[in-house]
Symmetry: C2
């Protein structure tokens, strides 16, 4: 398979969500124009996105809705549930634990860690915030391979050192910390400041 662009991967979620939430219409098939319109994505781009994963359409009919939904689910890896550990029980972290759209994708934050004694022991969204010193032990015990990092930069060094010692597959990095980890760990950096800031920058230019 050709390398799939990051932007294509992101758009798969729009297609999937649209099919999943679209209970109102009954036709078994949907054409790329209709799905494109509903998602605000050009049908040519949509067809190119889906073509990365083999032939999905049926000639003259379009995409079979259930089939496409299930294929997308499978491609995106959300045909199974994933348990995720959150490091950082600040405002953003707490909001993510309660974010019901993650759960709709089968993504569950089931472990929460912090190094702030005021936060440790408190309950967030049904889970007790644990001391980050038990991170390795807890992740290994519960076989959790995905981590959300929502810490402040100031407190990152000790935590990054710990992360280097754990067998993790993927990190969603919402902090501004730079991660120097094994190359096999998949990291997506999600910097809210850069995102809102780039809006201001575009407005300014």
């Amino acid at each position: 398979m050709k390398k799939v662009p990051e932007a294509t991967i992101r758009r798969l979620f729009y297609y999937y969500r649209c099919l999943k939430n679209d209970h109102s219409e009954s036709p078994k098939y949907i054409c790329s124009d209709t799905l494109g319109n509903k998602t605000g994505i050009k049908s040519t781009l949509l067809r190119r996105d889906l073509s990365f994963f083999g032939h999905m359409g049926h000639k003259g009919k379009g995409y079979q809705r259930d089939e496409l939904e299930n294929k997308l689910k499978n491609i995106m890896g959300i045909d199974q549930q994933h348990e995720i550990a959150l490091i950082g029980a600040g405002n953003i972290g707490k909001a993510l634990v309660k974010y019901k759209k993650f759960r709709e994708l089968g993504l569950y934050i089931t472990e929460i860690f912090d190094n702030d004694l005021d936060k440790i022991g408190r309950r967030v969204g049904g889970y007790i915030v644990k001391n980050v010193k038990y991170l390795k032990e807890s992740l290994e015990k519960n076989n959790i391979k995905i981590v959300i990092l929502a810490i402040d930069e100031e407190e990152s060094d000790e935590i990054i050192t710990q992360l280097q010692e754990i067998d993790i597959k993927a990190i969603w990095n919402l902090s501004s910390a730079q991660l120097d980890l094994d190359q096999n760990v998949i990291i997506i950096k999600e910097d809210l400041c850069c995102s809102l800031g780039s809006l201001i920058c575009k407005m300014n230019n």
Copy 2:
């Protein structure tokens, strides 16, 4: 000026933040290798990013720190403060109001709206949540041109209709709602589900 890629704009914030937070070192100049190392960005890419905005370096010396910091601030439009309205006082919205890193960039959420009667009238980060029916009136009165949209999709129709009637310059759309607005309105879509989801997708493939 050539069209600046979205990714370049985002990286400007890394360069800026690095210079701003780097109080430890005194040399007046910084070379692209050093700044690249500190931000985790290749120096060739860094130089290309900065070259979009004219010659910034000093031959044989590198970039003059204060000069570069100020230029970046100016390019990014954060050499002045910006007032922002938030629509949606749910968990994510509340976390954003309290997100101190926005304030460090001069971005202040000063108006908060919701259509949920349980939230209207409550205080979030020092501001009273207003009824979204006063959106147009409040934004015009306070001359606010930037909006953060952090609503649930289900409640989006009425709010989008309202947004169409207001003179807004830019929207940071954290909702999954599709916005059909005037083409001059700059919109950046920030979909947390797509972002975390694409991590899972990459891990899966």
